[in-house]
Symmetry: C2
Amino acid sequence: MSILVVGSVALDTVKTPFGEVDDALGGAAVYFSAAASFFSPVNLVGVVGNDFDVSQLDFLKSRHVDLRGLETREGQTFRWGGVYLDDLNTRETTFTHLNVFEQFQPKIHDEYKDSETIFLANIAPELQLDVLRQVNSPKLVALDTMNYWIDGSLPALKELLKQVHVLIINDSEAKQLSGKTNLVSAARVIQTMGPKVLIIKKGEHGALMISEDFSFFSVPAFPLKSICDPTGAGDTFAGGFVGYLAQAGDFSDKHFRQALVCGSTMASFCCEKFSLDRLVDLSQQEIQDRYRAFWEMTTFDPELRGL
Amino acid sequence: MSILVVGSVALDTVKTPFGEVDDALGGAAVYFSAAASFFSPVNLVGVVGNDFDVSQLDFLKSRHVDLRGLETREGQTFRWGGVYLDDLNTRETTFTHLNVFEQFQPKIHDEYKDSETIFLANIAPELQLDVLRQVNSPKLVALDTMNYWIDGSLPALKELLKQVHVLIINDSEAKQLSGKTNLVSAARVIQTMGPKVLIIKKGEHGALMISEDFSFFSVPAFPLKSICDPTGAGDTFAGGFVGYLAQAGDFSDKHFRQALVCGSTMASFCCEKFSLDRLVDLSQQEIQDRYRAFWEMTTFDPELRGL
């Protein structure tokens, strides 16, 4: 089944210990689409300014991403700047210019209204709610949000969460949203807010999924010899995750687990180069190989003998 | 095969958000022995002051821990105090009184000199070297150390590492010892120093093993609903790890993996109560069940179909 993603298309200026890029293609919807497109067709809804060179998205088109929902407005494209410090775990935002993204009002075209799988990338919860009002009973809605909205738009976020199946957030956001410092307790509070499945992203420490029956599934991050640029890893993770589920068309625990590994697989590639460079030249075989490497890195004999 | 452990026996004064204890039984050699004793016989070498109530160790005796190597000296027992803050990830040491431990000179009794499996808990590298001088060609030497010795006793530590098969340290210590910020690079540097196998403890984020062939094995921490007191979790981890290997008597990759899960299993129990309280009342069946829970928490289908 195809996926509808609504979120940012951006130009990023990023500096890491390994180099820097200016006005490189980025944005949550772009990273998500690039990753998800390896698994399923994707329909992207977003906005760019009239300064945006649409040919930058040619590789998405070649990967069956439908860009008819990408609006061009008078003005500048959303721009973000960030610097990563030595260990790449600390990021400082140098600037955020919302530009045309400030007035973004997602309009869902008729042909997307029956989307069965939806990813609401990190934007204002009010806009995310508005997207859900425009579509007809999707089978799977996955949501990203951030501390800014938990602080400033909690009522809308809580209203939204009632309609969400999967919430994908990081560990500090899970603690903030739930008011709990223990992740297990945090997960249980959040699940009462609506999402049956909670995915907690932990960056270099991998990801944890808490399912409807409160069972856990954990996947490590892939130990990379060199991490060039972590920008977009979270949205790439979401792309692999939702992309796999849409392709499987089966939302059982078995497939949710495989989806989490696909998310981690795609995120690991994302970090290897700047911008979307690694996703552009990625092959299906490389995805298969790394998925298998995750399995080899985590498998052990389930029988403990001799005790 | 039986295990020789050399390290501290202590009385800990610990405060966490869940309560506090004064002069509770602790020390690396005690936590290690308690955990390892579920798998193999253990011989403990350490020192206490004449203020120490030896009946506190009765449960270790009942678990086949040989305490003939525990010396009693004139003076006070090693005491340590610490406070854990809200999220239990931050610990402040309130005091360290080495007392009789300051003059500790481990003497290995003749009946322990043929020990095939040795755990050198965190003490001065010079003393750890001295232990190895007293024993006859052990098959497996596992070592713990800390930032204090990496800073202050690096030459002795490097000499020691040449004779060590498994180094068990935390992630910041691995980075410090290697001078690398990337864990993969850090592991490769450390492996050239001697240890064929490196175990990196990451606290609430689990543990990572890098084997002789540079392959990785990752195990998460067990998601506990409530963590009471993490004191001793690292040594309990080492106890489960080394204990399992000594019992298996087989140092193949398959068993190293199972050992890492046993270490994580024992560490998870340790955190559930203060001091060694949870290990005292632990059953073999509970260990089996949690080991299996680790498997259920990490298993997924190795075949990625449909790409």
